[in-house]
């Protein structure tokens, strides 16, 4: 008995319900929920407009140098300079490093949960990932700056000594002065994006048709060959989306990075050097900024907003398409 609700609603007023009060309440309630739904769009539009408006003085002051300029001298008395390329670089390096670590590990965890784990282990394993996601980023930052960074410094120096005479590696793993570096930021970020990449990867792996897996086993595949031949080809697009969602999260992560990246304005190929990221520079300099400096920091926020929205939107579209295609395959 299919009886669409909407048709009942459109029934004439002469039906059993009394007209009047109920109908008004119906309209009010529907309108309120409609408004709440639109609120999401309103807030997003307002974020873009209001912050861009506030950042306009800095954009006008610096022009294209705001993005392509390397010199950041907000307190220069004659001509303050707002070139944010170094922060862009820091954001890119730290979040790509994070992905490099987090994507394989997350895919491994997701495979473990969907293909490998015995039933009794599944719930505790998911709980571990959930708890990892629940730890506030500032706590990761605290552990990062007071525990991990000091402990990592000897490790960085050891790696540098190991590769000092190798051409490219020697400069990528360059000399380390202290533990607050791009590398530390990347590692902490990796831990923070593992839960999100894992959960999306799990969703993607769950859409792989059981028939495909059983077919692979029936052809004599080992478990790993089944994963390679049936699971991966089906989920490639979805995994790309998951990685991009992780990238979006890593780019916008502020406090943990602020604490462990070191806070120096430089573009260095050396992963063991201090740097800064877009989100981190806002948090660091916010307290002491005023006037054009504040406007420039908000400008960095606008660029960051645009980048994360773009990355997140494309990621969602990719994941959605992949899921729809999977469902089509199973039906």
């Amino acid at each position: 008995m299919e009886f669409p609700l909407t048709q009942l609603d459109r029934a004439p007023a002469s039906d059993v319900t009394t007209p009047g009060r109920g109908r008004t309440l119906d309209r009010v309630f529907g309108g309120a929920s409609y408004g709440a739904g639109l609120l999401v769009l309103g807030v997003l539009a307002l974020i873009l407009l209001s912050t861009t408006w506030e950042a306009l003085p800095a954009f006008q002051h610096s022009g294209f140098d705001f993005i392509f300029g390397q010199r950041w001298a907000p307190n220069n008395p004659d001509l303050p300079l707002f070139g944010t390329l170094t922060f862009l670089y820091g954001t890119a390096v730290s979040s790509l490093l994070a992905l490099l670590i987090a994507v394989p590990v997350s895919i491994g965890i997701a495979l473990f949960l969907t293909e490998l784990a015995p039933r009794w282990l599944r719930v505790p394993a998911v709980t571990v990932i959930d708890l990892l996601a629940a730890v506030p980023s500032v706590v990761f930052g605290l552990v990062g700056i007071l525990v991990i960074a000091p402990a990592a410094l000897p490790l960085y120096q050891w790696i540098h000594d190991l590769v000092v005479n190798v051409p490219v590696l020697g400069s990528v793993f360059g000399p380390a002065v202290n533990g607050n570096t791009f590398a530390t930021a990347g590692v902490i970020l990796a831990v923070m994006v593992i839960p999100i990449i894992t959960s999306i990867s799990r969703e993607v792996f769950d859409t792989v048709p059981v028939a495909d897996k059983q077919a692979a086993y029936a052809l004599g595949a080992t478990r790993w060959e089944m994963i390679k031949g049936a699971v991966f080809p089906h989920s490639f697009a979805g995994l790309v989306g998951a990685a991009m969602l992780g990238l979006g999260r890593a780019m916008g992560e502020t406090i943990a990075v602020t604490l462990v990246i070191g806070g120096s304005t430089q573009i260095a190929a050396n992963l063991f050097a201090s740097g800064n990221s877009m989100a981190a520079v806002i948090a660091q300099q916010w307290g002491e900024a005023s006037g054009l400096h504040t406007s420039a920091l908000i400008g960095i926020g606008v660029v960051l907003f645009a980048m994360t929205v773009l990355v997140n939107y494309s990621a969602r579209v990719i994941v959605r398409r992949a899921e729809i295609r999977m469902k089509g395959a199973t039906a």
Partner: protein
């Protein structure tokens, strides 16, 4: 199973094809075993940092934890040793509470629109995608947004600005998790209610929402837990306070997360101790909310079956 692995069965294997794992070439067996170990090791890689964080926070935070630590004012001089995080505890509770008060009703209404009214219309689908996108907006950008629209408008940094920023961060999470829960409510219930003559709003308020309420509560609590630990929007919008300030609309405020950030980058032992103590308090609050949310969700799952 053990017999097939021994060479003693070679005679039998000749007459019947050996389908056991040992019949596989060494390379394939090795790859399978190796990858299995690697995949399991990935989970250990996730447990390791969680264990490290919990161990460090508990072992270093427990030393400074006391009732006085939770209630005393924050010392105005960072160099001074000894307690107090009272202002931050109060600030965290009132700011997060106000954010929840703003975001949860709006989020649930938004979810009602998506699941009961908009359904698969183009607008509803667009709002759904944008809510997902909004969960990815960096928290610092949310802070800047509230700074521009609220702090600059009223000319003062106060707790309500922080609450607004946290509410913006919670809103999309509440919408999406509530919608998932509303979708689980069977359509038969709605049709039965409509057949009894109830209007749509009545059906939603008295039938749909009550049957989804535990799922919505659990999703909202997770959003609250997430918001309680946010730092970046707080340091941008709420200013500073050393004594407890329960008034959201008057004067600066502070939260545990903001205090951890402020004290962590200082080299004074007293400040660092307070940071660890604040971290322990914050983790306890966040975990409490997360566990309550899981318990409610678990009971809901049972009822469904």
């Amino acid at each position: 199973m053990t017999a097939t692995a021994t060479p003693a069965r070679e005679g039998a294997a000749r007459s019947r094809p050996d389908l056991g794992k040992s019949a596989l070439p060494f390379r394939r067996r090795f790859a399978n075993r190796g990858m299995t170990v690697l995949i399991a090791a990935c989970l250990l890689l996730a447990i390791l940092p969680l264990g490290l964080v919990v161990y460090e926070v508990v072992s270093r935070g427990a030393g400074v934890m006391s009732l006085e630590f939770l209630t005393a004012d924050i010392p105005r001089n960072y160099r001074r040793e000894g307690p107090g995080m009272g202002a931050a505890v109060v600030g965290t509770l009132v700011i997060t509470g106000m954010a929840a008060l703003l975001a949860i009703p709006l989020g649930v209404m938004g979810a009602i629109y998506l699941n009961e009214y908009g359904k698969q219309s183009a607008l509803a689908r667009f709002i759904r995608t944008m809510a997902d996108v909004m969960t990815g907006v960096p928290s610092i950008v949310m802070g800047l947004f509230i700074y521009v629209t609220w702090v600059l408008a009223i000319g003062e940094k106060n707790g309500f600005g922080g609450a607004l920023a946290l509410a913006c961060l919670m809103l999309p999470i509440v919408i999406r998790s509530s919608e998932e829960m509303l979708r689980l409510v069977p359509d038969e219930l709605r049709q039965a209610s409509a057949a009894l003559g109830a209007r749509k709003w009545r059906t939603i308020v008295t039938v749909v929402l009550p049957s989804a309420i535990s799922g919505i509560t659990s999703g909202s609590l997770l959003a609250v837990a997430r918001a309680a630990g946010e730092t970046a929007p707080i340091i941008v919008t709420v200013g500073i306070a050393f004594a407890a300030n329960p008034d959201l609309f008057d004067g600066g405020n502070t939260t545990l997360a903001a205090q951890i950030y402020r004290n962590a980058s200082l080299t004074f032992a007293g400040a660092q101790d307070r940071a660890w103590g604040a971290a322990l308090t914050l983790i306890a609050i966040v975990l409490l909310f997360t566990i309550i949310a899981r318990l409610i969700a678990a009971r809901f799952a049972l009822k469904e079956r």
